[in-house]
């Protein structure tokens, strides 16, 4: 290792060095893992440092494994404390609560409730029928599995999000690209629509490369 390494992690090489312990413990995201692997392929000093880190990790595991385990006293103390806790009010699931409510109704109230449900079903059927007639007119019968073809005039891409990506981050990312999910996930991939008009290939590739460089994107490619 060189003297230049004796610094705070700052620039790109040191940033890569700072990631090595997490590369060794297997918790880096796909993008950081790729960055580290590319650097390792060209820097023998990094390879040596990774070997040192693996040695440190092995000895840390050894050290911890020799610490033994707590005695059974700890468990007895815990469960004695749990048994001394006030009885917990069991929280019933929604279905259990509905079942309990129905059971508590008198036969007369139950009959009235059933009649009310029947009326609601009839009204609901009428509303659905009217909506269908208005939407499709006299265009005839369609199967339930029929899907009108989506007119996707924008650019589509296949994307796999990083496993640690949060829903809010994905939603923000889609908003920042004026994108929406049109299909998926299939094999972990989503098909997304970028913008509302097709882009020339060069522009499309640039956009997808930018998408690929996002922290929460593990993979992105143009969709056919």
């Amino acid at each position: 290792m060189t003297a230049a390494h004796d610094q705070l992690p700052g620039g790109e090489p040191d940033a890569i060095r700072a990631l090595l312990p997490w590369y060794a413990n297997g918790t880096l995201g796909a993008q950081d893992r790729r960055r580290v692997e590319e650097a390792l392929a060209h820097d023998p000093a990094l390879v040596a440092e990774l070997a040192a880190i693996r040695e440190e990790a092995a000895e840390t595991i050894h050290l911890n494994e020799t610490l033994g385990a707590p005695s059974s006293q700890a468990m007895h103390k815990l469960f004695a404390a749990i048994d001394a806790e006030p009885a917990r009010r069991t929280r019933l699931s929604l279905s259990a609560r509905i079942a309990a409510f129905v059971t508590a109704l008198s036969p007369r109230a139950l009959t009235a409730a059933a009649a009310a449900v029947a009326v609601v079903l009839v009204v609901q059927a009428g509303v659905i029928g009217r909506v269908l007639v208005e939407q499709y007119g006299a265009s005839g019968y369609q199967t339930a599995s029929y899907q009108p073809s989506k007119t996707t005039s924008g650019t589509t891409a296949l994307v796999r999000f990083a496993p640690e990506a949060k829903a809010s981050e994905i939603s923000d990312l889609l908003a920042s690209y004026h994108a929406s999910v049109v299909d998926g996930p299939k094999a972990g991939m989503f098909r997304i629509l970028l913008g509302d008009k097709p882009l020339p290939n060069a522009e499309r590739d640039k956009l997808i490369a930018r998408l690929q460089s996002e922290k929460i994107v593990g993979f992105a490619a143009p969709a056919e």
């Binding site: 705070l8 997490w22 918790t27 911890n64 610490l67 385990a69 815990l78 469960f79």
Partner: protein, 189 residues
């Protein structure tokens, strides 16, 4: 930890939240050793560590309903353990948690100088790992033994992710210095 185990930890926590004592036993059996070792490395006293883990798992029993699943269950457990261990240490007048005093707490490992004669790099490394400050020991254990990600360590220790990377960098640097003092030259710093 595997994804399957993480998923079943979530199921166990849901069952514990509904007062399932058997689920609590399974959960305790699965995690108590690692939690104990993490606690022991922080407090360095077996009896205190045992009392601590009873307290940690009692908190799990009481708070399971509030677990929101924003982190892995094991990460949540280590965060509770750390909080309780450090709170307990702060209460002890003779164990203020600055680096100097934490480093001066008696360690059962050999001194690096003693280890020098043993001519065993592994043994010397373990001795030097034991001689790190509490702050450095903790981060080394979380990454190397508990296999936590940068984000998870940040959550457990309560520091920004960049500080996590910097702290481990300095912990490793200190380790190299201790090894050098013990006669083992690794070329850095």
């Amino acid at each position: 930890m595997s994804g399957a185990q993480a998923a079943s930890d979530d199921v166990l926590i849901a069952r514990i939240a509904s007062g399932d004592r058997l689920a609590m036993q399974v959960f305790y059996g699965r995690h108590h050793v690692r939690v104990y070792r993490f606690a022991l490395r922080l407090v360095r006293n077996e009896q205190v560590a045992e009392d601590l883990i009873s307290d940690v798992f009692l908190d799990v029993w009481r708070q399971a309903g509030k677990f929101e699943g924003r982190s892995a269950v094991s990460t949540w457990l280590l965060a509770i353990t750390r909080f309780k261990a450090l709170s307990g240490l702060r209460r002890r007048k003779d164990a203020e948690l600055d680096d100097e005093t934490a480093a001066s707490i008696e360690d059962t490992s050999d001194d690096p100088e003693v280890t020098m004669q043993k001519k065993d790099t592994g043994e010397a490394l373990r001795a030097c790992l034991g001689a790190l400050s509490q702050e450095h020991r903790e981060i080394v254990d979380l990454v190397y033994y508990h296999e936590k990600s940068v984000e998870e360590v940040a959550g457990i220790v309560g520091i920004p992710e960049n500080t996590v990377k910097t702290r481990l960098f300095y912990a490793r640097k200190k380790l190299a210095e201790l090894l050098k003092a013990a006669g083992i030259e690794r070329g850095w710093p």
